[in-house]
Amino acid sequence: MRIVVAVKQVPDTAEVRIDEERGTLIREGIPSILNPFDEYALEEAMKWRDKLGGTVTVITMGPPQAEAVLREAVSMGADEAVLLSDRAFAGADTWATSHTLAKAVEKIGDIDIVMTGKQAIDGDTAQTGPSIAASLDWPQITFVGFVRELNQDSIVAERYVEGGCEVIRSSLPVVITVLKDANTPRLPSLRGKMKSRKIEIPVWGREDLELPEDEVGLDGSPTRVVKITTPEILSNGEIHHGESEKLAKLLVDSLLGSEVP
C-alpha cells in the first residue's frame, strides 16, 4: 500500500489574532505546528501501512520552514517526505494548492491512497482534500471517521455526516479526508526523531512538477481573499437568575417576542 499524506503547517491558533486593518492573521510570535487534523490522517496511513506493508510519504506545500512539519511527521513514523516549495507557489488558494499537491502525487507515482485531515485549523475550508481528488480525477470519501476495510483493490469507510453515518465502498486509488474519530495519533518515537534529523527531504518547485506559471500560486488562483474580519457582535446575552419555572416562562416570552426567524 503506497500512501501519500498531504499535511499543512499552520499557526497554533489558540493565540492567533486578526490584524483588523489588513484583514490578515497576525503570525508574528505564533508558533507553527502540524495541522492537528492531519495527525489523524497520518496515523490512519501509518496504521494501515503497519498492517499491510508499504510506504507513507508525507508532502506539504509551503515556505522552506514548512519542512519542520515534514520532519515531525517522519519522527512519528512516516517513511519519506517531499517539500513543495517555490516562490511561484506563493499566494495560492485552495484550487492552486490542491492542483500542485496533485501533481506531486502523480510525480511520486503509483499511489493507492491520498489522505488528509478533514480541514486545516487556519483556513478551515475543508476544500484541499476534495480538490486534490478532483484534480487527480480520483474518487473521494470525505469526513472518514472509521476505515472498515482496506486492501489492494478497495476501501470501505464510514463517513460521519450530520445526522448519520454513510458507509462507502470505493475502488483505489482514492482520496480520503480523516476525522479525529478515526484513531489516536501516536507520539513520535526516539528512533523516528533520529531518522527525522537525518532524512534528506527533496524540495520540488514549479519546474520539477512541470506546471505552467498560470496554474500555480497567486496567478493560478481563481479566488482572492478580500478581507478577514471578526463577526460583529449584534447583541449581548442576558443572564437571569431565579426559579426554573419563572426562568422558563421568561425564556419562552422573550423568544416569542424576538425576531428570531
Binding site: 501516536r186 507520539l187 513520535p188 518515537s189 526516539l190 528512533r191 526523531k193 533520529m194 534529523r197
Partner: protein, 390 residues
C-alpha cells in the same frame, strides 16, 4: 541552569515531557487513588523507544546515541517524575532489573534477554530485598541449590518493584549460606516458571501507581545457564547494579522536587491574600528561592554522577550515593515546603503536592537507605584519606 544537553538528550526530554502531558498528568491522581499499575502508559513509553535508551545497539537499544545510557535514563526519569513518581519508577525499575544482565551477564544471556527489554516487549524487575534482608544483603534467606543442569530456588522476596508486571526477574539468592554475602549468587527467573508465583501486592504510602509485590519461589527449577556471572558473585553483581542505578532514583527524586517547585511557584503567583499575590511576600519568596536553589544543586550532582558513569569512570559509588542522598533529601524538603506554600489546599488531594510529598519519601528509603548511602560515602572518604596518607 543550562546543562548543554546533546540534541539527542533534548529530544528524549521533549518526548518524555509529551508523554507526561498527554498520558500521565490526566490520570496520575486516579492511578494513585486506585493503586493501579499504568500498563497503557508503559506501553506508550515502549512504543516511543524509551526502554532502549540504556541498552547498547548490538542488543537492540541505542545507548550509544546518548553517550552511554546513564544520562539518558536520568533525563527520562527526571522528566517523567515531574508528573508522577509512581509511573516514573515503574519505567526506571526496568533498567534496574536489566542492569545485572547488562553489567555481568554472559553474551548468551545478553542476546537472549536484552532485545525484548529494549523493545519493551518484556519488563524487568530486580529482586534482592527480603523480610530480613534490607540494608543487610547478607540476610538473604532465599536458597538456590544446584541440581544437575538446574538450580532449585526456595524463598520469598519482598517489596519487589514491577513485581507481577515484569516477565524477567533478576534474583539474588544464597548458594552457600555459610559464606554470608560471599555465598550470594544472581539468577534470571522468567515469569511462568513452575514454582514461581506472586504473593501480596503492597498498599503503599506513595508511588502507588507502581506495583510492589512479593515473589514466592517453591521448588522453582531454572536452567543452570540462568546463573549470572559465577556462584558467590551475587553480592558483587547487586552492588554494581545499585551503584549504577542510584542516579536513576536520584533523578526520580529530582523530578518529584522540580514538579513540586513548579506547582508551588505557580500557586504562589496566583494566590492572593491581604490584597497581594503571596509570591510578593518575603516569607514565601525565601522559601521558593531556597527550594529552587536546592533543586538546582541536586540536578548538578545527579547529572555529574550520570556523566561520570557515561564517561567510563570505573569508581563512582561515592558520587552515585551522594547524588541519591542529596536529591532524595531535597525532594522530601521541597515537597514538604510545597505543601506548606499551598497551605490547606496543599494538604488536600485536589492538588498534586500532597501526593508528591508522599512519593518523595520512598526515595530516601529504597535502593539503599540514605543512612546506608552515608556509610558508603564515609567509607569511600576514609579510604581516599588513607590512600593520601601513604
Amino acid at each position: 541552569m543550562n546543562y548543554y544537553l546533546s540534541e539527542e538528550l533534548n529530544d528524549l526530554k521533549d518526548l518524555c515531557a509529551k508523554i507526561a502531558e498527554k498520558y500521565i498528568l490526566p490520570v496520575r491522581a486516579e492511578l494513585d487513588e486506585e493503586n493501579r499499575f499504568p500498563r497503557e502508559i508503559i506501553k506508550v513509553m515502549a512504543e516511543s523507544d524509551l526502554n532502549g535508551i540504556y541498552i547498547p545497539e548490538e542488543y537492540g537499544g541505542f545507548a550509544e546515541t546518548f553517550g552511554g545510557g546513564s544520562m539518558a535514563l536520568t533525563v527520562a526519569t527526571e522528566e517523567l517524575s515531574k508528573a508522577c513518581g509512581g509511573v516514573a519508577v515503574s519505567y526506571a525499575a526496568n533498567a534496574l532489573g536489566a542492569m545485572p544482565i547488562l553489567i555481568s551477564g554472559s553474551e548468551e544471556q545478553k542476546k537472549k534477554y536484552l532485545p525484548d527489554l529494549a523493545s519493551g516487549k518484556k519488563l524487568a524487575a530486580f529482586a534482592l530485598t527480603e523480610s530480613e534482608a534490607g540494608s543487610d544483603a547478607g540476610g538473604v534467606k532465599t536458597k538456590a541449590v544446584k541440581d544437575g543442569d538446574s538450580y532449585v530456588l526456595n524463598g520469598t522476596k519482598q517489596w519487589i518493584t514491577n513485581g507481577g508486571e515484569a516477565q524477567i526477574y533478576t534474583v539474588i539468592a544464597q548458594t552457600d549460606p555459610s559464606r554470608g554475602t560471599r555465598g550470594l549468587s544472581a539468577f534470571i527467573v522468567e515469569e511462568g516458571t513452575p514454582g514461581f508465583s506472586y504473593g501480596k501486592k503492597e498498599d503503599k504510602m506513595g508511588i502507588r501507581a507502581s506495583s510492589t509485590m512479593e515473589l514466592i519461589f517453591e521448588d522453582c527449577r531454572i536452567p543452570a545457564e540462568n546463573l549470572i556471572a559465577r556462584e558467590g558473585h551475587g553480592f558483587l553483581v547487586a552492588m554494581k547494579t545499585l551503584n549504577k542505578s542510584r542516579p536513576g532514583v536520584a533523578a526520580q527524586a529530582l523530578g518529584i522536587a522540580q514538579g513540586a517547585l513548579d506547582e508551588a511557584a505557580k500557586y504562589a503567583s496566583e494566590r492572593v491574600q491581604f490584597g497581594h499575590r503571596i509570591d510578593s511576600f518575603q516569607g514565601i519568596q525565601f522559601m521558593l528561592a531556597d527550594m529552587a536553589t536546592q533543586v538546582e544543586a541536586a540536578r548538578a550532582l545527579v547529572y555529574s554522577a550520570s556523566r561520570m558513569i557515561d564517561a567510563g569512570e570505573r569508581k563512582y559509588e561515592k558520587e552515585s550515593a551522594m547524588a541519591k542522598v542529596f536529591a532524595s533529601d531535597v525532594a522530601m524538603k521541597v515537597t514538604t515546603d510545597a505543601v506548606q506554600i499551598l497551605g490547606g489546599y496543599g494538604y488536600m488531594k485536589e492538588y498534586p503536592v500532597e501526593k508528591m510529598m508522599r512519593d518523595a519519601k520512598i526515595t530516601q528509603i529504597y535502593e539503599g537507605t540514605n543512612q546506608i548511602q552515608r556509610s558508603v560515602i564515609a567509607s569511600a572518604l576514609i579510604k581516599e584519606t588513607a590512600a593520601r596518607g601513604k
